[in-house]
């Protein structure tokens, strides 16, 4: 499993775009990058997954540079309800279980 490093916490304001960067210097060729979100007192929720370049869905965008040694989760125009912990995960199809790190605690201010 590739080791990931992400900020412990971030603050932002409503309406701002928030970018959370994750470093994964030893990512392997077959690894994908996945982000999960966990609201207080709820289970983690899959947000987005990508392999390279850019992926966008209704929740977020994921930017992955050509060397794939980092990735950036972008949340457009955040609201108070985006306050959550965001987890960056790196792994391939042989990884059955998720090992969660501490994630990034995002706090959105009014």
């Amino acid at each position: 499993l590739a080791k990931t490093t992400q900020p412990i916490s971030m603050d932002s304001y409503e309406g701002q775009e928030v970018n959370i960067t994750c470093s994964h210097n030893n990512i392997a060729t077959n690894d994908y990058i996945t982000w999960y979100q966990q609201f207080p007192s709820q289970g983690p929720r899959f947000i987005i997954q990508g392999y390279k370049t850019k992926v966008t869905n209704e929740v977020a965008s994921l930017f992955i540079p050509a060397d794939r040694k980092s990735s950036t989760l972008s949340l457009p125009r955040v609201s108070l309800s985006d306050t959550a912990v965001y987890y960056c995960l790196v792994g391939d199809s042989t990884d059955d279980k998720i090992i969660f790190g501490k994630g990034t605690r995002l706090h959105i201010l009014p």
Binding site: S41, F46, D96
Partner: protein, 115 residues
């Protein structure tokens, strides 16, 4: 959107008592998991289950813990003799074959309080 359902949402039990936490995974899913999260700490893997047997378990999942899929829909976690340190949120998750890597669906959790 299909959901993983967990009951009860909150359970209070006395130390030494047995508890059973229940989960109804998504109906066409084949792989099932239990995780726990002690207040303020990381989400920790407990056990994975496939084809009616445990695939993998962590060091946390000792002899006090057991899992069962008693019928085609429920997936349960039993703690035989609860300890104070078992107080945590317990999350059930499931996924289907060929799904996205790490493409789990988690339930909302059961908050277990041991007193």
């Amino acid at each position: 959107e299909p959901e993983v359902t967990q009951t009860p949402s909150h359970q209070v039990t006395q130390m030494g008592q047995e508890v059973i936490l229940r989960c109804v995974p998504i109906s066409n899913h084949l792989y099932f998991y239990w995780y726990r999260q002690i207040l303020g700490q990381k989400v920790e893997f407990l056990v994975s289950f496939y084809n009616n047997e445990i695939s993998e378990k962590s060091e946390i999942f000792d002899d006090q813990f057991s899992v069962e899929r008693p019928d085609g829909s429920n997936f349960t976690l039993k703690i035989r003799s609860t300890k104070l340190e078992d107080s945590a949120m317990y999350f059930c998750a499931s996924r289907t074959r060929g799904q996205l890597i790490y493409g789990y669906t988690f339930g909302s959790g059961t908050r277990l309080t041991v007193v």
